[in-house]
Symmetry: C2
Subunit: 234 residues, 2 copies
């Protein structure tokens, strides 16, 4: 367990990863290092196949994956295992649990390679330091924005998923995507299989619906490109 007490090679090697993390958006390299010291960030290491966090634990730290890869998994009472996220360097995790006092982890995180993790104590992060450094303030804003963005994303996803039929899930998603991109002609960040997984439907069934929608003139699609026709007789 290291501490960010001085700027040394340990910190340097993480900087390129940390810079890409939305939590540090708008901060210069020096400001990031200053903030980490101010907050008292720590580095821990986990060997491959070790548990980084385990369901039932408590944590008051946001964890930032600096190197390696890991899985966020969930198991139910009857032992059914479910992979929730595939973590890459730069990703952070456990942040909602850290932000709620005494919250118990409902997921586990397992290292799939040797990992290095930067731990940021949530209480230190959200409590203004006496110096009231401006970077600190920026970090708090970034944290809130990150939470808000996740809330919006989840909210949208739930909207799509709550439709009972594949067709309606597709229309809901495509409608939202057109609105987000501000155009009836847009690309989506998924291929067919990924889109099906995102909407929790069968790829085959989804392909059938996409064909029907095209025959009915509601939209045109080729690979990841879509063009919607709002005026079609519905």
């Amino acid at each position: 367990m290291f501490e960010f007490k001085q700027r040394g090679e340990i910190l340097e090697k993480f900087l390129n990863v940390l810079k890409k993390c939305p939590l540090f958006a708008g901060l210069s390299d020096d400001e990031i290092l200053t903030s980490l010291k101010c907050i008292g960030a720590k580095v821990r290491k986990n060997a491959k196949n070790q548990y980084i966090l385990q369901a039932g634990d408590c944590t008051d730290c946001i964890s930032l994956l600096a190197s390696g890869t890991a899985l966020v998994i969930q198991e139910d009472l009857w032992g059914n295992r479910n992979v929730m996220t595939n973590l890459m360097p730069g990703d952070y995790f456990a942040e909602p649990f850290a932000a709620i006092p005494d919250a118990v982890l409902s997921v586990s995180v397992v290292a799939t390679e040797n990992c290095e993790i930067v731990e940021i104590n949530m209480n230190h992060l959200i409590t203004m330091c006496s110096a009231a450094c401006s970077h600190h303030n920026r970090l708090i804003k970034n944290l809130i924005t990150a939470f808000a963005q996740k809330t919006l994303l989840f909210n949208e996803k739930i909207t799509h998923m709550s439709k009972r039929k594949t067709r309606d899930k597709l229309l809901s998603y495509l409608s939202a995507e057109a609105a987000r991109q501000g155009s009836l002609s847009f690309d989506i960040p998924f291929d067919r299989q990924q889109l099906a997984d995102f909407l929790c439907v069968e790829r085959a069934a989804m392909s059938v619906e996409l064909s029907k929608l095209q025959k009915e003139g509601l939209l045109k699609t080729f690979h990841s490109h879509f063009e919607l026709s709002p005026n079609a007789t519905n």
Copy 2:
């Protein structure tokens, strides 16, 4: 449009509602009023059937419903309307949009009765005032906790909904509920219809599955009470 410049009867009448809002948890009446002044909260009124917020707008304010009722609705490109939330006094809304700079509202909010709304500017809220008042700090913590809680709830709901079959959705939900309550014997906050709506399945199909699960010995249920048997031969 009023401002919270001094403590008058306008503020008094909202206090009972504001006190119940998680955003003000841990603050005394006086601290709430002080904070509202410090942040520059404002009160607006909307008549029944008026739009309080409209999809496409931008807002940098968290809105807090002080009196009246309203609906959060969403419409897709082809005019399909969808009621997302039924707002009651004490509820707040638009907070993720306010927390993301320049975010465009993807939902509309319509007053279903005459409404009074307390608007709190997000930038004022998350930027430390020069006085660095302690209430202010508490508000920021509350905001982060509220976001985190919503993230967790959504995350759980998505986990349940992403199961393809009614049976799996039930087991996922009940498993999580048992974990949350720390007991295999627990009550859920839903009746059958509400549970079906929450999991986005048919009440009838769900009743059938619940009967099967009981016959198979995986659980016992009576009304809102459940007892799970993790050792049953699955």
